[in-house]
């Protein structure tokens, strides 16, 4: 089957429709889902195709998250829509104290198949409470899996794998990338296993370790660097937990240089964790310090020049690459 071009949004809807057709236990729960097929139109076709299996809730994020947990514990496979990932703060107890811990603290008695879909990211002039990238919080909570797709095919394959996973999965999908198109396999069994990174561009001089929107910065940067004779390899991590460190290590054993790129702010971000592991496990393979490109350590501001200044740019990735390559 040939790959068609689909937007990330359409890839998500296709994944959900395929999985909901396959398994009746799957349902979607959240705010404002049926009137416009989700506030971003991300569930196009689902309200008509699956009436009663995509449920509008009141504005009750705590209860929405808890409902997902309770339904998952009692035989269903819920997908919870968090409206904007920023609102996870209202469901933190349910996600981090309940979903993440229930299987473990009850001695493995039960499975908790829950997908928490979080539209995240900045660039839409949506300001501080509608623009964050919060994946690191959940990476820091044992018991949760954390998925951050970049391209539409990743969205489809990773969402399908997340739905079939028997554990709670935090799925962060960037709002600004919903309309971005890419080739997506039609195969209804197209799954991307959680914990497998992809080398999306091969290069010998420097490795870009990235995920989500950072991938597109890296791609742009790699094109520019190629013109200068620097060949960058791009590793799209795709899932942060479980992390495919083998692929990271294999790439660094080849390039000896790493630049980590993410849209989340710098301090305490996933890049810090990755850099720590790289220096501990791959010290002998490093020819340069591991650099990080990330947002500045402030909330995301509203006004366009302010927001643009805070977010990482391809030029920052280029500069970091030049630096580690001593150019």
């Amino acid at each position: 089957m040939s790959d068609r071009l689909l937007s990330a949004s359409a890839a998500l809807a296709e994944a959900l429709i395929e999985e909901m057709t396959r398994d009746e236990r799957i349902f979607i729960l959240g705010e404002d889902l049926t009137a416009h097929a989700g506030i971003f139109g991300q569930f196009k076709g689902i309200p008509e195709k699956f009436p009663g299996r995509i449920l509008d809730t009141p504005i009750s994020e705590t209860c929405i998250a808890g409902c997902g947990v309770g339904a998952a514990l009692t035989g269903m496979r819920p997908i919870v829509d968090f409206h904007f990932s920023d609102f996870v703060t209202c469901g933190m107890d349910e996600l981090c104290n309940q979903a993440a811990k229930i299987r473990y603290m009850f001695g493995g008695q039960v499975k908790l198949p829950l997908v928490v879909w979080c539209p995240d990211g900045a660039g839409l002039r949506a300001a501080a409470q509608h623009s964050q990238s919060l994946e690191a919080w959940f990476v820091h909570t044992p018991g949760l899996k954390v998925v951050v797709p970049s391209e539409p095919a990743d969205v489809k394959g990773l969402m399908k794998a997340s739905i079939r996973d028997d554990n709670p999965v935090m799925f962060f999908q960037h709002k600004r990338l919903f309309r971005r198109e890419g080739p997506v396999p039609e195969d209804p069994e197209f799954l991307i296993p959680l914990g497998r990174a992809a080398i999306k561009r091969e290069g010998r001089d420097v490795t870009f370790l990235t995920y989500g929107s950072g991938y597109f910065l890296c791609r742009e940067a790699a094109d520019e660097l190629a013109r200068e004779g620097i060949e960058a390899e791009i590793v799209d991590l795709r899932t942060l937990k479980p992390l495919d460190f083998d692929t990271v290590a294999a790439s660094l054993r080849k390039t000896f240089r790493a630049v980590i790129v993410h849209e989340a702010c710098l301090t305490g971000g996933f890049g810090a964790e990755l850099a720590a592991r790289i220096q501990a496990e791959l010290f002998d393979f490093l020819d340069a310090p591991v650099l990080r490109v990330a947002a500045k350590d402030v909330p995301i501001p509203f006004s366009p020049p302010l927001e643009d200044f805070v977010l990482p740019r391809a030029a920052d990735v280029v500069a970091a690459a030049r630096s580690v390559c001593n150019r």
Partner: protein, 330 residues
């Protein structure tokens, strides 16, 4: 002593249920008493919260439930678990931190569950069970089952935000959920009379368009009566109910609580005049359902069962340290 009101239901099947309920109340009381003793003796690690004096609520409610109904409970959850049918051997072993416990030593007193009999877990977060039980109720509705889902919580939890969200959502979707408030007068050190804007927490049901029952929680048959109505409504698709069982926390918030917030005479008065087990016992004897001899035998049998549970817990091995890394993901 407060007296039970007369019940008209004289069917043998009801009297058999009463005997079982009485035995379960005795079992909870002794389980909690022994837990307190072994905790004081340093054999149970961490901290524990006992439900002595609240047996009428746990047993009255769970006496109306089927094995496949769901219960979510609290940090003070031993009684609910026993009333729902949990194995006291595995519970005791869990309290002792042993590998044979319900959670292989990973949970302890505040985190015991038995999913095989619908116990979705005790919860270390006050009000943590409410959003979960709404999810269980939704799951029941989506599966078109006639199960019910029950959440126990306290007067302290009643002031948390998730309670509002959970009761509202359960009501608009008419989910088969019972919200059971055990008003035991104190949230840790804070009196309910100080912390709640209304004295009768069952009044809050009106705000969610659901029936609210204010019940003498130390009258186990009154609890059973209210629960029966609520369960019947839930199974019939009529939606959730709120039951407020007014009771009293005889022990401190946790074992070792200095309890400076209340006068010891208040505790003594409740114990002397309003003990749910003594009240039920007096009623059953008066009705000829139990004799002094039968009561003694029940006590002996329960004692033997719990002694065996403690022996099992003591003899059981601790988990291997490396087992701490197991059971995180399915």
């Amino acid at each position: 002593m407060a007296k039970e009101k007369e019940r008209m239901d004289d069917r043998p099947v009801e009297k058999t249920a009463w005997r079982t309920m009485y035995r379960t109340m005795v079992k909870i009381r002794l389980f909690e008493t022994l837990a307190g003793e072994y905790f004081a003796a340093g054999q149970i690690p961490g901290f524990i919260h006992l439900s002595i004096g609240q047996e009428g609520s746990s047993v009255g409610v769970c006496s109306c439930l089927r094995p496949d109904d769901y219960v979510a409970t609290t940090h003070r959850g031993h009684g609910h678990m026993i009333a729902k049918g949990a194995d006291v051997r595995r519970m005791t072993a869990e309290l002792f931190g042993k590998a044979t416990g319900y959670c292989k030593g990973k949970g302890g007193s505040m985190h015991i569950a038995d999913f095989s009999i619908g116990i979705l877990g005790a919860n270390g977060v006050v009000a943590g069970g409410l959003p979960l039980i709404v999810g269980a109720g939704l799951s029941i509705q989506l599966r078109r089952s006639d199960q019910v889902a029950v959440v126990f919580f306290g007067d302290g939890a009643a002031n948390r935000g998730p309670v509002h969200e959970a009761m509202n959502l359960a009501s608009i979707w008419r989910l088969p959920v019972l919200f059971v408030i055990e008003n035991n007068r104190y949230a840790s050190t804070t009196p309910q009379s100080y912390a709640c804007a209304v004295g009768d927490l069952c009044l809050r049901a009106a705000a969610y368009n659901m029936p609210g029952y204010g019940v003498d929680g130390n009258d186990v048959l009154a609890v059973r009566e209210a629960t029966r109505k609520a369960v019947a409504a839930a199974r019939a698709g009529e939606g959730p109910s709120l039951i407020e069982n007014k009771t009293y926390r005889v022990r401190g918030h946790f074992e070792g609580d200095p309890q400076k917030y209340r006068d010891p005479s208040e505790v003594q008065r409740w114990q002397a005049e309003n003990d749910p087990i003594r009240r039920f016992e007096e009623y059953l004897r008066r009705r000829g359902v139990l004799t002094a001899k039968k009561i003694r035998r029940i006590e002996e049998e329960v004692r033997a069962e719990l002694d065996a549970a403690v022996a099992f817990a003591k003899e059981s091995p601790f988990p291997r340290p490396e087992e701490a890394l197991e059971d995180l993901f399915a």
